[in-house]
């Protein structure tokens, strides 16, 4: 099997704080290949963003600490890299875009300068060349009149345009991996579609891999090749998009599916949000973290922590009963419309 572009293996990171240990990331594993899109899905607090930040070395250690596991990029361990080395990768081979483009862009610098910055750092371009390239990048992401807009400040852009500018900034050095952390959450629904379309287009052109972090299943349904579902810091389901959407294994995933407003409902059914709230990462429930909210929880779920295991090919879940055909069939009839 060819080497993967990005290989995350049992990555575990806890925050050691005065009030307890926050198990922010617990045993996450996945792979990412060139041109592939991975959708990482979960509620707020599920650890989906922190996993990416840990890989990029953007978490302060202490109080954070990688307890075990690794993330390898092109065969090299990101976790064990020195700061100077990983800095060369950030913004260059792996780029990130963040949720709120208004606060993620520096308000006192012109947009053009911020887009040009990675070029100057990583490619050693002169200010003039980098700025010229910035204009082209803005054009690439669909910002009209880029020669003029390049001199503007972030507050002079609209929300959608700002996010486009952030994408331009991330793509400046032609990264192999683009990590998008909730890129559309802060935007209007209409703009959301534009941005995801843009990302897909650009991916076709550049061939980069994308990690799409979101709480919105609808966004990844279209874009992603594989989906990783996270809950309370742990991975609960992982597989191809078709696998996860058409034969979800974990009750949490079932719950997420149920709450997607879809147009193809046979009959009118009420949207069923999952009862309860995500747990405190300092004070996780015993056994399976999901058991307090799981409609199908059994005695075993309260006492034993379910390990992630493969059920079918590369499709797996962290549930005691995943893969038990009787259990799945019995429950899913209730869930699927």
């Amino acid at each position: 099997m060819a080497d993967h572009l990005l290989e995350v293996d049992d990555l575990t990171m806890y925050f050691h704080t005065r009030d307890g240990v926050v198990k922010a990331v617990d045993g996450v594993s996945y792979t990412l290949d060139k041109g592939e899109t991975l959708g990482v899905v979960g509620e707020s607090g599920s650890g989906k963003s922190v996993t990416a930040l840990t890989m990029m070395g953007l978490i302060q250690m202490p109080p954070g600490k990688v307890e075990r596991g690794d993330a390898k990029f092109k065969g090299r361990s990101l976790i064990n890299m020195k700061e100077e080395e990983i800095r060369k990768i950030r913004g260059n081979e792996i780029a990130m875009i963040f949720q709120d483009p208004m606060t993620s862009l520096n308000p006192v610098y012109r947009v053009g300068m911020q887009v040009a910055e990675p070029l100057m750092i990583h490619k050693g371009m002169s200010k003039r060349d980098a700025n010229k390239q910035a204009v082209e990048l803005l054009r690439l992401v669909g910002i009209p009149n880029p020669e003029a807009r390049v001199k503007d400040y972030p507050h002079q852009f609209s929300g959608g345009m700002r996010q486009r500018a952030m994408i331009a900034m991330a793509l400046a050095c032609d990264p192999d991996v683009l990590i998008a952390d909730e890129p559309t959450t802060a935007l209007d629904v209409t703009i959301q579609a534009q941005i995801t379309e843009l990302m897909q287009e650009l991916q076709k052109r550049t061939g980069s891999a994308i990690i799409m972090i979101t709480h919105d299943l609808g966004v990844v349904a279209d874009m992603a090749d594989r989906i990783l579902v996270m809950y309370a810091g742990r991975m609960v389901e992982y597989g191809t998009t078709d696998e996860v959407f058409y034969s979800p294994l974990h009750p949490y995933t079932w719950g997420l599916m149920d709450s997607i407003p879809t147009q193809n409902l046979v009959e009118k059914t009420a949207l069923r949000p999952i009862d309860g709230q995500p747990p405190s990462l300092v004070n996780l429930p015993s056994g399976c973290s999901f058991h307090p909210r799981c409609p199908y929880a059994q005695a075993k779920c309260v006492t034993d922590v379910p390990a992630y295991h493969l059920v079918d090919g590369t499709h797996g879940a962290a549930c005691h009963f995943a893969g038990d055909p009787g259990f799945v069939r019995g429950c899913s009839l209730e869930v699927m419309v």
Binding site: F15, R18, D19, G20, S44, E83, S280
Partner: protein, 345 residues
Amino acid sequence: MTMAEHHKHDRHDEQSLVEQHAVRDSRAGLPAGPPIIEELAHMHNDGVVARDETVGRTLWGDAWRRLRRNKLALIALIWLVVMVTAAITADLWVSKLFGDPATINSATAMSNRLLDPSLAHPLGTDTMGRDMLGRLIYGARASLTVGLSAVVISVAIGLLLGALSGFYSGITDSLIMRMTDIFLAFPYILFCILILAMLPTSARGIGPVILSIGLLGWPSFARLFRGSVLSVKENDYVDAGRAIGASDSRLMFRHIMPNAIAPVIVYATMSIGGAILTEAALSFLGLGIQPPEISWGRMITDGQRLMDTNPGLVFWPGLMIILTVVSFTLLGDGLRDALDVKMKD
């Protein structure tokens, strides 16, 4: 559903807290903001209570617990309690122990002047044979009186105007805000100096000092309280109260006040320190508390000439001022953390 929404909001905050403040450099270099992960955990430990729900017991009980953990604030509080007790009871015991600190006993004045520290006079005596420690205690009484009274005046005016301004908006608001602009344009000491300088010497004293400091200090409180009132006004439970027909003043007292009062308490505590410094400066210039009344500032003036031979005359009063003001500042800081008030510097 409202509670769940609130809690969902908390969760989102928690997520962005973890992210936001997790972005740091693992070497030396730019650390992220204030320590937050505690906040994270703290929000969990508090359980399912939405943050701005119950104000009554939960807020103050919590606050006291948090304050107790802050050692500096506790030390400050203890020192202040000691001082206040000494100052209040001064009349009862100071004269007996150290002799009258105010009046000059012409019989012993010259023989007793400028004595070195001894058991009878732990900090020595001043140029008129009066015991220094006794004088310092009476000075404490003056300073604390001025500090507390002036701030009480400022708070009273400030709360009233701030409440009117925030609650009624419109023209009342603009007018009052203009007035705060005007009063804030005055450099503090200069204003007090002007007023006190104009009074004939006989009319000066502790009263005018308190008034001039108090009358100038209200704008900050008005603005602060107005801000609190405005933000609290938006909340659901105020509308709910209005829906059941509560009158304006009832709304203000029962619902808005408890929430809005916390920053005022914090700022008031810190202002007492400022008032004490101002009083000391005014007394130093001879415009404040007049002899034979005792003030630390005045003691510094009197001792200035003999700085070379008897530096203690200037040093001790100054030290007392510093300790007292620092205590109020530390206490104010502690209160701010305990009451979880977010105030910009």
